[in-house]
């Protein structure tokens, strides 16, 4: 009844068996899921190799170059991590929202507003220019998180109160965020007519490994900044919320079956607002860490779409906060090294192929495929 039988009619006489697909009636083991993801990446790389070959390149050499350019030395690995930090945070932002089936497509906008909020501390200025570094960083952190959360609150409130589709509202708010930022870098905080603010003074910079090169020479030239600590703490916090807390239980229950949640007396509206705010806060934190750790000024091109890549990362990590960290590093590597082979094109295509393969592999988690001998009817 419930099983789907796929038959290749054309090959009826060629193969004495048929492929049967049926839903799994048991839970697959944990390692099976991991193995499947790994194999999916391998398949994707093979497809990518074919693509590179088709484009006239040498797949082996390209892959070797990608690996070398992203993991080949401490220096480049550090650069990979710099790329991975904002991805981790936006990936976590999407993870928590998607867990509740709240489709926050607005991590990009929340990232920009978080960056703007953090810049305000320096540029408005909120603090005197010579305030101690730790006060600067904590204040910028608080501002980034606060404005990100505020920007998440808007679509959350609209959905909870008026049932406005959050996909549309968060998507549109992205444009507002970018233009809001543009207004400030063009008009308010523009440095000498350039479309960027002035460089932040050093006490508003997140510490980098390179800053400690004097004490530890091995850190010389390493750009990895303190944002990594924020991201890792955030991953742990999101893990604790999702799997260990009562709030996380509510989120998972609403995500799986809102009717059941309502029946259990859980307020869905309240959680929509709170989860959107948490999601926005994480994306805002990503913006703050990027502005204070890497860019050191407010400008237009602070994000090559970190917020959108966060969506993909959350999906690929199967909404698991620790997997988000790992996937982000891989994507950071692809972004960094991909640019070395071709500014755009093949590397982006490989990203896409990986995603398709991983999502397709989900099918095997849900269904069993086996070969059955064809019985003559």
């Amino acid at each position: 009844m419930s099983d789907i039988t796929t038959e290749n009619r054309g090959s009826k006489n060629l193969f004495p068996f048929k492929i049967k697909v049926e839903p799994r009636l048991d839970e697959p083991k944990g390692w099976y899921s991991a193995l499947l993801s790994f194999l999916a990446v391998v398949v994707a790389l093979l497809v990518g190799a074919a693509l590179i070959g088709f484009a006239g390149g040498d797949p082996w050499a390209s892959y070797k170059h990608i690996a070398k350019a992203s993991f080949g030395s401490v220096g480049v690995f550090s650069d990979t991590m710099v790329k991975a930090i904002p991805l981790m945070l936006t990936g976590l932002a999407c993870t928590i929202a998607f867990r509740m089936k709240l489709w926050n497509i607005g991590a990009e906008g929340q990232f920009f507003i978080g960056a703007w909020g953090a810049s305000m501390v320096v540029l408005l200025p909120v603090l005197p220019e010579d305030a101690p570094r730790w006060i600067f960083i904590l204040t910028m952190l608080a501002f980034g998180i606060f404005f990100g959360a505020l920007f998440g609150f808007i679509p959350g409130f609209l959905k909870a109160k008026y049932n406005v589709n959050e996909i549309i509202s968060t998507l549109m708010l992205n444009y507002i965020a970018v233009e809001w930022n543009n207004y400030f870098i063009y008009a308010k905080w523009s440095e000498g007519g350039f479309q960027m603010s002035r460089m932040f003074q050093r006490n508003a910079w997140l510490p980098r490994l390179a800053d400690y090169a004097k004490e530890y020479p091995i850190f010389r030239g390493l750009t990895t900044h303190f944002g990594l600590v924020f991201a890792l703490i955030a991953a742990v916090v999101i893990y604790l919320i999702l799997y260990k807390s009562q709030w996380g239980y509510e989120i998972r229950l609403i995500g799986d079956n809102p009717h059941a949640a309502e029946y259990a007396g859980i307020s869905i509206r309240r959680n929509i607002v709170l989860v959107m705010m948490l999601s926005g806060a994480l994306a805002g934190l990503a913006g703050m860490s990027e502005i204070s750790g890497v860019v050191h000024r407010l400008q237009g091109s602070i994000s090559p779409g970190y917020g959108f890549t966060g969506i993909i990362i959350a999906w690929l990590a199967k909404l698991n906060p620790f997997a988000v960290v790992v996937v982000s590093v891989l994507f950071g590597a692809l972004i960094l090294a991909g640019r070395e082979i071709q500014p755009t094109g093949i590397p982006t295509m490989i990203q896409g192929v990986i995603m398709v393969c991983l999502i397709a592999s989900d099918f095997l988690l849900r269904y069993r495929i086996y070969f059955a001998r064809r019985v003559e009817e």
């Binding site: 009562q246 799986d256 079956n257 059941a260 309502e262 029946y263 259990a264 007396g265």
Partner: protein, 519 residues
Amino acid sequence: MDQINRNEDLERVVRMQGIVKQFPGVLANDHVNFDLIHGEVHALLGENGAGKSTLMNILSGLYKQDAGTIEVHGKREVFSSPRDAIGAGIGMVHQHFMLVPSQSVTENILLGLDEPRFRLNLATYEAKIAEMAERYGLHVDPRAKVWQLSVGEQQRVEILKMLYRGADILIMDEPTAVLAPSEIEELFRTLQSMTEKGKSIIFISHKLQEVMEISNRVTVLRKGKVTSQGIPVEGSSRAELARLMVGRDVVFRIEKKSREAGEVVLSVKDLKATNNKGIRALNGVTLNVRSGEIVGLAGVAGNGQRELADVITGLRKADEGQVVVQEEDITNQSVKVGINHGISHIPEDRTHVGTAPNLSVTDNVIMKNYYQNPVGKGWRIDSTAATDYARELKKAYEIMVPTVKTSVRLLSGGNLQKVILAREISSLPKLMVAVQPTRGLDVGAIESVQHLLLAQREAGAAILLISEELEELISLSDRIYVIYEGKIMGEVKDGNIDKIGLMMTGTQLKEIEEGEISQ
């Protein structure tokens, strides 16, 4: 003689014989015979699940029968799709309309037809449809968009759709269920005018009054079997039809200890509420349930049972009236307030409301106490305590599942219901609202669910049992209320199935008793 027989055959526009349809676990139609005479309204009467819709879905080509024959206009037909059926002149108007809201009436009617082929000359078709609507008294503007129409008008569009396709046999599946009283009158006038113009109509319903009013003959189905085939409505009494519909099966008695009922736990006063479509579903319901008794609520589905359960448990707002639990007014309070007042709820829909399919057994059993000791501690959930709790319940309620980590979507219906019961009973409820607790379960599971309910009665809980299974209601309940169109028709204490049947089809208990006296 021969001549007469042939005339009779010509008159019979539909003749279904020995129709059998088996679904997994249910014999939906068991050698059903049915015939329809030219120009009549023939009612198909029966409870939910009696097999009315299955039979008509077979006639309209949606299902294929396992055995039996269909003759239309004296010709043997085998339908493999609704298109075939409409080709033979049979059109079905479903209970749920199948219209595109953003398109106009005309566009909806033309949808799926071969014409117009290339140029959409709407004006011509609009005129055609307007003329047809005029002829049958189906007043609707062919240019109006469907979303602008009332439910009654949308139904007319559905009828027009069938007429436009050349249907001369119309199947109406519970057409009055969605209509307001004034719209029902208009529908009946339309049906009348259609039969006068030579159409034949099959009218599916479980409302006796309407059946008596509109139809010429009636066929009654009960549990997939015909209990009376094509008897004329004139000359049959409501009581007789009600009995044919609900049957007179020997009620199996369950061992039930006699027990004095205690104080009133739930008291519902003059409750009014609307359903999801904004139509009044509860029209002043008053009832009470005392501790240590099972009170049944009988009624054909869709007469306000679900809404009543929702309002009591806090899932739906009441427009008027009161819900009092243990002398505290909890009308229109949140679900959590209800839970904290000791209300437990076995919902009608196990998979869509009662459980979260992709979460584990553990996560599903802690749904209502995740914030309380010992599972909830401070801000967190003690996963060891939760697992222990789930394991305990798994053992006590004999939930057949490898581990408590298994997702509940992998559980059978009976085991899923045990998960819900385990959760709802272990909270030691003062009041239990059980909606269709045994529906769709196998015999063994039904028995264990019933025993669990009786054990709760022993323990002193007040139980409101809402069910469409009359036998179950009668054998489990101490008293039974009957609900019809959002009103309580009366209360029986002796399980008199005739009275229940009459009340379920819309007769007040008072009227029944008056009738008995006058007889």
